[in-house]
Structure formats: structure tokens, C-alpha cells
């Protein structure tokens, strides 16, 4: 048979180093084992977070000092579309503007009977998040100002608004 002829064997001996089937088998098995690892590792994709430019404001009762809920609508100053529309809220996420100089963003907080203006003064810094998500702004809140129709007073508890953090920045005490 041709497959077992001396010529064929010489050919194979000449062009192949036919040793160590155990290692070869090991290589083959290794490839198969590595496949899922490689595919899994390579399919990683970054998850970008939403709502990362908003100040977190907790509403506190000025009477009890505890968290409270307020039914309110919130608008950006000069905007007709709302951030919140007649919702019962204990925490507000208020997006800060990017293109004001100096950096100040005004909001109007309306209830059925009255309205207050709430302003945030802040500095912004360009940060790089990841290859997938690119850039974001981080903020440092320097001051909060407000009218006093429904709001008694406010305090900054955590001045940094940073991507990936979920912390209350400002406490607003309401009557």
C-alpha cells in the first residue's frame, strides 16, 4: 500500500518531526480550553452610566430633620420642559449645565402653592472615563443659593459630582 511504502515513510521522516504526540495532544486540548476564555475576554464591552452630571439633592423636613417627600415640578431656568413633572419626590437629580461661565445652573422648584429658585455654583473638570465612554465632566459644588418660600435652608454634604458615584451632594430643608 502506498500509505505504508518506504518512500512515503522517508518523505514523512524528511519533512515532519514526528515526535511527541502527547505534547501535540496537549496543545490541541489547550487551544480548546483557551477558546472560551479568549472569546469571553474579547467580548468585554464597557457599560456607560447615565445621569452622571446631576447633583443629588435630598429633601429634609425642617421640622423633623428627617427625609421627606414633596410633590413638585422642577424646571431648568428659562426652560419650558421639566426635569420632573408633578412627582412626589424625596430626592432630586438635577443636571448641571456645561456651557455657563461662570458655572452656575438655576432651577425652579414649583409646588401647588409656591415656587423657589435653587442655584448651584460650581467648577467643572474634564475627566476621561474609558475607551468606550470617552469623556465626562466632574463637578465641585462651591455654593448653593435659593429663595425661601418653601426652602428653609440648604447644606452641601458632599461637594463632588463624579462619574460612578451615587452620593447625596446637597440637603435641602423644606418647611
Amino acid at each position: 500500500m502506498i500509505a505504508n511504502s518506504p518512500q512515503n515513510c522517508n518523505f514523512r521522516h524528511k519533512f515532519f518531526i514526528m515526535h511527541h504526540h502527547r505534547l501535540l495532544r496537549f496543545c490541541g486540548i489547550g487551544l480548546m480550553v483557551l477558546l472560551p476564555l479568549m472569546i469571553g475576554g474579547c467580548n468585554e464591552s464597557g457599560i456607560c452610566l447615565s445621569n452622571q452630571h446631576a447633583v443629588q439633592v435630598s429633601l429634609i423636613s425642617a421640622h423633623t430633620g428627617k427625609d421627606t417627600t414633596l410633590t413638585t415640578s422642577v424646571f431648568g431656568a428659562g426652560r419650558s420642559d421639566s426635569v420632573y413633572a408633578s412627582q412626589a419626590l424625596s430626592k432630586l437629580f438635577l443636571p448641571l449645565e456645561f456651557d455657563h461661565d461662570p458655572d452656575t445652573t438655576f432651577f425652579v422648584i414649583k409646588t401647588k402653592t409656591t415656587a423657589d429658585t435653587l442655584a448651584f455654583l460650581y467648577r467643572k473638570e474634564l475627566d476621561f472615563i474609558s475607551g468606550e465612554c470617552g469623556y465626562v465632566f466632574s463637578f465641585t459644588i462651591d455654593g448653593v443659593a435659593h429663595t425661601t418660600n418653601k426652602i428653609d435652608y440648604s447644606t452641601i454634604v458632599y461637594p463632588t459630582v463624579k462619574y460612578g458615584e451615587d452620593l447625596t451632594n446637597v440637603q435641602v430643608y423644606i418647611y
Binding site: L24, R25, C27, L31, E97, L126, F128, E132, G134, Y135
Partner: protein, 243 residues
């Protein structure tokens, strides 16, 4: 025509790579007693081409050189290049009123060098002249790249978005690797092998705000630890004989 799944493409490529291993399984050695070549080997890493099939933002090339210092100790140098051309247009939706858009483009060109030693623990008692390799090694890696983000938009969701663009910046990165590798001789002086590498980024210094999306030779910049793979084809140049 439906687009082929990256996973199927990847499996197909790996099966093609594994095919040359099959015909030699179960064969015996024809090594000539009394002769053993100490040599230099040059090779190419197929991993950048494989990566390209499922991540078309990255284009790379890596060549390697290996020098037998001792019977079981090899000096290894790997030199490569990688281009990254990445863009993203992603909208994250939390609810109807909370839409955040991420639009971002990134380009990078860089080169890298990895150098270190490999130690062969493979002892084929029945085949004393077998030159296959099963062992471990370590590498020091260095990469230099120029990167820029020609355009990006930071989405706000309520107020105006911010549009920007950055100039180029340079990045110097250093890392170390621990390598586990297998290599076998397919034809006389032609080797195929793969390696799995644990990599630790020691330092990545950049002149701008932007961090690299991927570091040449290291991989995607998702943290200080990552795992890498290589599939190598090598030609060994015999330059000496030992009795």
C-alpha cells in the same frame, strides 16, 4: 446576507490553526542521535490578526526572536505595533426623560517591546532530542503610543451637550508578564505554539487627560491586570551543533 458571528469566526480560525497539529499526532521521533541544534528562532504572532476579526478597531503586528541561552533557557524579545481607530456612539437610557449620549472617537499609534526569559520544563525522557517546549517565562513590556481624540460629545440629557476635541498626547506604559507557553515542532525547524499571559500594568503615564483605550502589547486598558494570549509561528535558524 447575515453577518457571521464573531464567535463562530473565532472558533473557525482556531480550528484552522489547530489542523496542522493533527497529522503528526501519534508519530515517532526521527531525531538524529548525537546532534542537537542550538539556534535563533524568529516568529510572528497570529493573535493580532485573530483579534482583528472581532475587534476591527485594532490593527497590529508582532514579531519575535528567541535565542537559546542554555538547553532549557531562552532569551525572548517581541517587537510589535498597534493602531487603534475607535469610535463610539452610544445612548444610555435610564427612563424616558433621562437619555445620555456618549459620542467619542479615539485614534492611537504605538509600538511595544517585550523582553524576558523562557524556561522549558518539558523533559521527553523517551526522546532526548525533542525540542518542544512546555514552560513558563516572564517579560518586561514597554509601549510608547501617540493618541488623540479628534472629536467627542458629552451628552447632558437636559441642557446643551458639550462638543470638544483634543490634540495628540503621548503615553508611556510599562508592565510585567508571567507566561505559560507550549510550543511544538510541526515541520523541521518550524514551530507552532501558544501562550497565555498574566499581565500587570506597572505604570502608564500620559501627557493629556485622555487615557489610552488600548496599550500596544498589553491589550485593552480596562485595569491594572489583564490576560493575554499569543499564537505564534516560528522558524528556527540552526547555527551550531553540539555533539
Amino acid at each position: 446576507m447575515a453577518k457571521t458571528s464573531p464567535m463562530f469566526r473565532f472558533i473557525f480560525i482556531n480550528l484552522v490553526l489547530a489542523l496542522p497539529l493533527v497529522p503528526t499526532m501519534g508519530q515517532q521521533s526521527d531525531s538524529i542521535p548525537g546532534r542537537r541544534a542550538q539556534s535563533i528562532a524568529v516568529g510572528i504572532d497570529l493573535a493580532p490578526f485573530i483579534i482583528r476579526t472581532y475587534d476591527d478597531s485594532r490593527t497590529g503586528l508582532c514579531v519575535s526572536g528567541r535565542y537559546g541561552l542554555r538547553d532549557k533557557i531562552f532569551g525572548v524579545a517581541e517587537l510589535g505595533y498597534e493602531n487603534v481607530d475607535f469610535s463610539n456612539n452610544q445612548t444610555v437610557t435610564k427612563n424616558e426623560t433621562d437619555l445620555t449620549a456618549y459620542q467619542y472617537a479615539h485614534t492611537s499609534n504605538g509600538s511595544f517591546l517585550r523582553a524576558g526569559l523562557d524556561f522549558n520544563f518539558f523533559k521527553p525522557y523517551d526522546e532526548p532530542y525533542n525540542k518542544d517546549f512546555v514552560g513558563v517565562g516572564f517579560r518586561y513590556g514597554y509601549a510608547y503610543q501617540e493618541q488623540q481624540s479628534p472629536a467627542f460629545i458629552i451628552g447632558n440629557g437636559y441642557w446643551n451637550d458639550y462638543s470638544g476635541g483634543g490634540g495628540s498626547s503621548s503615553v508611556n506604559s510599562h508592565w510585567i508578564e508571567v507566561v505559560f507557553a507550549l510550543r511544538t515542532e510541526l515541520f523541521r525547524n518550524f514551530y507552532a505554539g501558544w501562550s497565555m499571559r498574566g499581565k500587570m500594568l506597572v505604570h502608564s503615564g500620559h501627557t493629556g487627560v485622555m487615557e489610552p483605550y488600548a496599550i500596544p502589547g498589553y491589550g485593552k486598558n480596562n485595569g491594572n491586570l489583564t490576560v493575554g494570549f499569543t499564537y505564534s509561528l516560528e522558524y528556527q535558524i540552526p547555527f551550531g551543533k553540539r555533539q
